[in-house]
């Protein structure tokens, strides 16, 4: 079978630090894949490599058979790969609606002449973009907050808005970087449901970084475990839970934290 995302042995080091090494990952169409590992393992760096923020020093990345190597982040977004940020990066001064509309920009046609003359094409497109943004916002119950400034939102709402904004670019694959961080258990359950819903509704493939193990084990179909920039395990949740290397990596972390 062919995979939507096919990553072969990518790596990057910062100075002497090998942040990610020989990272290989294949995700089938429509799958929900988990990426876990202790803090500093290199998970966010993997996302940055996939989205073109960092240029991989080795390896190859293909999305739907098309190589993404050396492409700029906006081209990768256009190719159908979108993401959220662990350290929330919303457009804080702008309204919630504008945050989503900006991401809709990618799939429209925007000429300066049409914009300045306010042609009927332009007006129809703007109306359609607004409608689409509102529809997406309502999936995550953010419709009522559409005219709030993004930075005034609660932490959980900001995380949800990050997901909505990523969705608005019409991705094939969405990368979620700790979307449940800072949420309470009830919110996490809601979030898991919403992720399921958007997967079905938009025919999405998801790669998820998450620290809440019960959430990860619950919703992911396959899981990759990173430690010190290297993959230490890959498999179904059941296989991962019983893998001695994984247990060691996590226990090791518990010891250092306490």
């Amino acid at each position: 079978m062919s995979f939507l995302l096919d990553v072969q042995r990518i790596g990057i080091s910062f100075g002497g630090l090998k942040a990610v090494q020989d990272f290989t990952l294949q995700i089938a169409h429509g799958a929900l894949h988990g990426l876990i590992g202790p803090n500093g393992a290199g998970k966010t760096t993997v996302f940055n490599l996939l989205t073109g923020v960092y240029l991989p020093q080795t390896g190859s990345i293909h999305l739907g058979g098309v190589s993404l190597m050396g492409r700029k982040p906006f081209q990768i977004a256009a190719a159908g790969l979108s993401r959220t940020f662990q350290n929330i990066r919303l457009f804080g001064e702008l309204s919630v609606l504008d945050n989503v509309r900006i991401a809709c920009h990618l799939r429209g046609r925007h000429s300066l002449t049409a914009t300045v003359l306010r042609t009927s094409f332009y007006r129809r497109q703007e109306a359609a973009i607004e409608e689409r943004a509102m529809t997406l916002l309502s999936i995550f119950d953010l419709g009522d907050l559409a005219h709030e400034q993004a930075r005034n939102l609660s932490y959980g709402d900001q995380r949800r808005l990050e997901i909505v904004r990523a969705l608005a670019t019409v991705p094939k694959l969405i990368l979620l970087d700790e979307p449940a961080a800072g949420m309470n258990p009830a919110e996490k359950i809601e979030l898991a449901k919403s992720i399921e819903q958007i997967r079905k509704q938009f025919n999405l493939t998801v790669l998820l970084i998450e620290h809440d193990m019960s959430l990860v084990m619950d919703i992911c179909e396959r899981i990759t475990v990173l430690d010190y920039g290297q993959i230490i395990a890959e498999g179904t949740p059941g296989e991962i839970q019983s893998n001695p290397k994984v247990i060691e990596a996590y226990l090791g972390e518990v010891v250092t934290e306490s």
Partner: protein, 376 residues
């Protein structure tokens, strides 16, 4: 790339068609109103209102770069001067070759000279925009404050270049005797190197700027900036200002849009410079390209609120008004206090209203009946 057809007509409500045509008509009415009413207030008022119009266009154009896109340019006067010099060069030599003189009948609403001015403004704006591309492309690729340094340097370089230009050919026979291109300082070419007055300034430019053209162009610049800001294109610019990395991840071609915004700003600066060059009672001088003039425009944009078009307009009126008032009081020796006063205003603002008078919002967002939610 996959695109969605957003333009399919459907049941969703779109803005009514009149929004396309009514505002430009309103701009035309405003320009006519200004042209016929302001002269009743006297020549001094006319002069101040023209100064204000030029300042407003300059401030609104800088808002597109510094306000919307968040890239700090501090050499905006250079683009004004470049546009002004280019346009003045065109109109001056055109009038001289055609009529042998550059005198303009004052008080005309829209005569041949105003038509020439409008064409020259387009040329001046285009040349300024081209320069914006050359200056912007290398410096806007990089993140950080490179643009500020490069634009500052550009203004100073341009100032020195203008100082090195040749004096002007002042009569028709003299002009006819000159070669098109020439390096001989006693008989320089009239196309290149251009005779635009050197350090003494460019004199005898046809004084065809009038209130009608000024406020027509103020209105059109406002429409451009306003329609840009509240469009998909403008929101993409705002996203760059908010978070470049997130903007790029959401599919915004950051470098291209930054350069474009910079070129729009340079274009309108060139137009403002054209109006300035053709304004009666002014001499276009190399110093008009320098930092001091740029600083005035930056003050207007920062005072009005980075990203607020109406804020920039208001600040342009205030700064021009205060300057004129201090000029009027020269007898009391107050003019030297201009810069200290503005510096003080800026310091106070940084303390009490760090985002300028209106932040990224427009004045009407603060009125209760129009207020958008979240405008505060």
């Amino acid at each position: 790339m996959q695109t969605l057809d957003y333009a399919i007509p459907g049941t969703r409500p779109t803005q009514p068609g009149w929004v396309t045509f009514v505002p430009p008509l309103a701009v035309l009415m405003l320009a006519l109103l200004m042209h016929y009413c302001v002269p009743f207030l006297g020549a001094y008022a006319e002069r101040i209102m023209t100064d204000m119009a030029i300042a407003m266009i300059a401030a609104m154009s800088l808002t597109i770069v510094n306000g919307f896109t968040g890239q700090f340019s501090i050499g905006h006067a250079a683009f004004m001067a470049l546009g002004g010099y280019t346009a003045a060069w065109c109109s001056y030599y055109f009038c001289l070759r055609y009529w042998g003189q550059t005198a303009v009948v004052p008080g005309t609403l829209f005569g041949t000279h105003q038509l020439i001015l409008l064409c020259c403004a387009l040329i001046g704006g285009a040349v300024a925009a081209g320069a914006g591309w050359v200056v912007g492309l290398p410096s806007l690729r990089l993140r950080g404050d490179y643009l500020a340094i490069v634009t500052l340097g550009f203004g100073e370089i341009l100032r020195v270049l203008f100082q090195q230009t040749n004096s002007q050919a002042l009569s028709k026979p003299e002009l006819a005797n000159r070669p098109l291109f020439g390096s001989d300082p006693t008989n320089p070419g009239w196309v290149f190197p251009p005779g635009v007055g050197g350090s003494l300034g460019f004199t005898d430019i046809p004084k065809s700027t009038n209130l009608f053209l000024c406020y027509l162009l103020v209105g059109l610049t406002f429409l451009f900036a306003y329609r840009l800001k509240f469009s998909s294109l403008g929101r993409a610019l705002l996203s760059i200002r908010e978070d470049e990395i997130a903007a790029e991840a959401m599919g915004v071609n950051v470098t291209r849009l930054k350069v474009r915004a910079f070129m729009f700003a340079a274009f309108f600066a060139g137009i403002a410079g054209t109006l300035y060059a053709h304004q009666s009672g002014t001499t276009l001088r190399p110093i008009d390209s320098g930092f001091i003039r740029s600083f005035d425009i930056v003050i207007m944009v920062v005072l009005g609120g980075l990203g607020s078009i109406s804020g920039a307009l208001l600040a342009a009126v205030i700064i021009t008004g205060v300057t004129a008032a201090l000029l009027g009081l020269t007898d009391y020796g107050l003019l030297p206090y201009r810069m200290p006063v503005f510096a003080l205003v800026l310091i106070l603002m940084m303390i009490f209203r760090p985002k300028g008078l209106f932040g990224v919002h427009e004045i009407w967002d603060y009125l209760p009946q129009f207020g958008r939610k979240g405008a505060k």
